[in-house]
Amino acid sequence: MKELTLMMIGAALVNNVILARFLGLCSFMGVTTRIDTAAGMGMATTFVITVSSMADWAVQHWLLDPYGLGYLRTVTFILVIASAVQFTEMTIRKVSPSLFQMLGIYLPLITTNCAVLGVALLLVEGHMSLLGATLFAFASSVGYSMVMIIFAGLRERLALAAVPRLFAGPPIGFIVASLLAMAFMGFSGISTG
């Protein structure tokens, strides 16, 4: 239990998907203009990363490993992720068409989010159990969502600030992102003793 908890904290904070592994930067800069859209995208991505990681783990352990098909891993995982996004889209449309109309905007973006594939590939390197892999994926995506929301909050405040003309827009966004990344480096000093 303690191992799982430490692994989840590590995945969410110390090895944050965005600020430590530099994955998912497209959505990090593109969907963080408002907190609510960042939260919506974060929740959608969390769902897809967790579900696709379960499927990726099963494919890796019960198909690719036994038959020596490890060289097909990346292609297979991309297929699994695309299927997971399609499954999510179909399911939400069936569960509630109104919800789908409201939230469907995020789903096509997730297919092209490299954080989803990145987390799946990290699972393979970790040699975890199914529950461990799923919790790792969940914690990684919670870390992703948390950074998205923090950065969106900062950008909402930046929009009201008097930024010098040369730094307005993306430049000040990148500067803030780098400061945030440095702040998150502080988590690597967490003692486990």
Binding site: S96, Q101, M102, G104, I105, L130
Partner: protein, 167 residues
């Protein structure tokens, strides 16, 4: 351009008029699609709606059509700014994604503690996901009955206005 701090806005185009009801199609935007690889990237086609096959962006946008009362005498082709309450968006996201995820993880944790077998854990997680989707369906119906999921027309869109400009 002023905007309500608690409203998430988007632009939609009128595609059909039926008596007093107008059907809208949201204009799709992407977080990326502006890079050097946009010509070959699936995300960029989201902005243009090209492609009509199963799972294509055009099909996705078609599925996202919605109807509202045509109180503003809108005509086919009119572009309007529609908005939803940001708290409603958050509740909708939580209903659709968080509820099934919580039940999936809870079922997986329980199965792992009881059986300690990966195959049974996977089976339990699938059951948990299904149960969560059923709960989400019930919660979404309740939200829909309260009218929290329906967007409202805010104003006509200014010519040339997109989700990326002035919003």
């Amino acid at each position: 351009m002023s905007r309500d701090a608690h409203t998430v806005e988007g632009i939609a185009r009128v595609v059909r008029i039926e008596n007093d009801v107008a059907w809208f199609e949201p204009e799709q935007t992407t977080s990326c699609g502006h890079c050097a690889s946009s010509a070959a990237c699936g995300a960029s086609s989201a902005a243009t709606g090209t492609g009509t096959g199963i799972g294509s962006i055009a099909r996705r946008i078609e599925f996202r059509r919605f109807a509202l009362d045509n109180a503003n005498d809108l005509r086919i082709g009119d572009r309007v700014v529609v908005g939803v309450d940001d708290r409603a968006l958050f509740r909708a996201s939580a209903t659709a994604y968080a509820v099934p995820l919580v039940t999936t993880l809870a079922a997986g944790g329980l199965a792992q503690a009881l059986f300690g077998d990966d195959l049974l854990t996977l089976f339990s997680m699938a059951l948990g996901l299904f149960a969560g989707l059923v709960v989400a369906r019930i919660a979404a119906r309740a939200l829909g009955r309260r009218g929290e999921l329906a967007p409202r027309i805010l104003r006509h869109a200014v010519p040339g206005e997109t989700c990326q400009t002035g919003m």
